[in-house]
């Protein structure tokens, strides 16, 4: 009996061998070599166009069978009157500064409005889509609608998990592995122009492989404004992938905390090839130390521009939240960059309270694609008489405008922390002014 299996065995081995060879050759020719040279066959864009057609089909099916509810819950008055105007508007007549029992209605209504729909909490969960993009994770209200759609979804699952995911994981490992190995090799060179040149090439190549590992289709606008040495590049933050997206088009010095494990290995390797700024956990708290290291780096014109995400945390790409003023105090040129993802193909937002890093990467690699646009805005500097906070807000407004995002004053730290008491005290102060008018007496504790 066993003798029958032997030829069968070797046949299987041969088939496996051939398919692996074919697989890797294709990978090399179509993905890795173009990544090294920075060219593209245009396969990904073709893929994107066919996906769009597919989504249009699914939209037609959904339209026929289901009514969508993705508008706002309540009508918000965008032209918000100030607290004083609203309360005076509400009173029974007479503009005397006095208490009126109906004043409570103002706070009451604003409070309940914020319970029904507020500007902040919805920024920390993934954006809802208007129609289904055939991914289970973005399926909110569309239960079994039609067999055709479910069939499409099934085929999608097969393609994404059976073909795309293994492909992408292979590429990811290749990209990261090459990054660690090659940067370590470049690190052996003596400091000088040759080393910088090689380091740039190595970094770009590995990031480009990673970009293909995510099937990221990126459109760069206004590349003439790309950040130069001695400056700081600031961008809005949606996910860790932002780094890969920006670093595959230009060379930056990264800033971050020292990690252990695989991340630590990558960090140590990268810093051998060119100077990145890694902080120990304890150093992060010391703002002066941080500012000094950043300014020293920026002062050295031979070093690469620093890449910083001033929001400090991942936001869901519908808005830009408060920029921390640290990077704006350094006094060098700031190069703002706006990144906007197209959520139809795959949601890039990392909800770190819900998913860990590995889970997140798996989600990314089993989406259809990551499609985004990057706009390089013209460089900005601090103007006369402008303090760091105002400068930060100016840059934030420019980024929000370009990316089509809402410009919010709220702190991204509200994802995990409580709002500061001082904001409530501001509201109380405003109301007290209404009560006692513009007279000075009474404003004592």
């Amino acid at each position: 009996m066993e003798s029958y299996l032997f030829p069968f065995d070797s046949l299987i081995c041969m088939l496996l061998g051939i398919s692996f060879t074919v697989w890797f050759t294709l990978l090399l020719v179509f993905i890795i070599v173009p990544a090294i040279f920075g060219v593209s066959f245009g396969i990904r864009r073709l893929y994107m166009k066919s996906l769009i057609k597919l989504f249009e089909v699914s939209l037609l099916v959904i339209d026929r069978c289901f009514v969508k509810h993705f508008d706002q819950i309540i009508e918000k008055n965008w032209f918000k009157m100030s607290l004083e105007q609203e309360i005076q508007d509400m009173r029974r007549g007479g503009a005397e500064p006095e208490f009126d029992m109906s004043d409570i209605f103002y706070f009451c209504r604003r409070g309940v409005e914020s319970i029904v729909d507020d500007e902040v909490t919805k920024r920390f969960t993934a954006e809802e889509l208007e129609s289904w993009n055939l991914l289970t994770r973005s399926n909110y209200n569309f239960h079994h609608i039609s067999t055709r759609l479910t069939a499409l979804w099934g085929v999608g699952v097969l393609i994404r998990y059976g073909f795309l995911l293994p492909l992408r994981v292979t590429l990811a490992f290749t990209g990261v592995g090459l990054l660690v190995v090659l940067t370590s090799i470049v690190g052996l060179f003596p400091n000088g122009r040759m080393k910088n040149y090689l380091s740039d090439k190595v970094h770009l190549m590995c990031y480009r492989i990673c970009v293909r590992a995510l099937t990221a289709i990126i459109t760069y606008h206004d590349s003439e404004n790309k950040p130069k040495n001695g400056g700081i590049c600031v961008a809005n933050h949606t996910s860790p992938i932002d780094v890969i997206i920006l670093a595959s088009d230009g060379c930056y010095a990264m800033v971050g905390q020292v990690h252990g494990g695989l991340m630590g290995v990558i960090q140590r390797a990268m810093v051998k090839a060119c100077p990145h700024i890694w902080f120990e956990r304890s150093e992060v708290k010391d703002r002066h130390l941080v500012a000094k290291r950043l300014s020293d780096h920026v002062a050295d014109k031979s070093k690469l521009p620093i890449l910083i995400f001033p929001e400090g945390t991942c936001i869901n790409n519908t808005s830009v939240m408060m920029f921390k003023k640290g990077s704006f105090e350094i006094g060098c040129t700031v190069y703002p960059v706006a990144i906007k993802y197209d959520p139809r193909f795959g949601d890039a937002f990392w909800n770190s309270s819900k998913f860990g890093m590995v889970n997140y990467l798996l989600h990314m690699m089993s989406s259809w694609a990551i499609v985004c646009s990057v706009w390089y805005l013209p460089p900005m500097s601090r103007m006369e008489g402008e303090d760091a906070v105002q400068f930060a807000n100016r840059v934030k407004a420019a980024i929000a405008r370009k990316g089509g995002l809402a410009d919010l004053l709220w702190d991204g730290g509200l994802k995990r922390g409580k709002v500061k008491e001082v904001f409530k005290e501001e509201q109380q102060k405003l109301y007290s002014k209404v009560l006692v008018g513009s007279s000075e007496d009474g404003s004592s504790s």
Binding site: E98, F99, M101, V112, V116, D118, Y431, S443
Partner: protein
Amino acid sequence: MGSRASSLLREEDIEEIKKETGFSHSQITRLYSRFHSLDKGENGALSREDFQRIPELAINPLGDRIINAFFPEGEDQANFRGFMRTLAHFRPVEDNEKNKDLTSGEPLNSRTNKLLFAFRLYDLDRDDKISRDELLQVLRMMVGVNISDEQLGSIADRTIQEADTNGDMCISFSEFIKVLEKVDVEQKMSIRFLH
């Protein structure tokens, strides 16, 4: 705000809430989504911390009183029925014409019920009277440290004098209604819910 929560809400529940509150089917599912996204503990009920996580509510001087209105006497959890019942007070009065199949009796968003909601914000110990102390406490919440005790005290005294008709130095609900009879309560205590 995406959630698969709408599948957890049964049709019978939606119908009952519709009858009790007057919200439409789509409004109820939409608000259920919101309820679910606020419910971080995923146990089908909201706690006070869940409300306080909303920054715009946390900075509202009367935030705690408003949150309190969602919790029945002595309870720490607000379920979806209670949530909707409280929100129903803020439906515009005009919407009642569109929805005829409400249970008999006064709808939750009538003028009287809106005023009752506001009255209860002042009435801290729920004894159906607003005493001078209670009025002072609520005023203190609204102004913080910016007004002195004496001035606040005189504001409270003046308000009670104007409103109090039966001389018990407290404001009862009927006195409250009388004081606010000229105010457009229907408009000021309404939120435009979209369909």
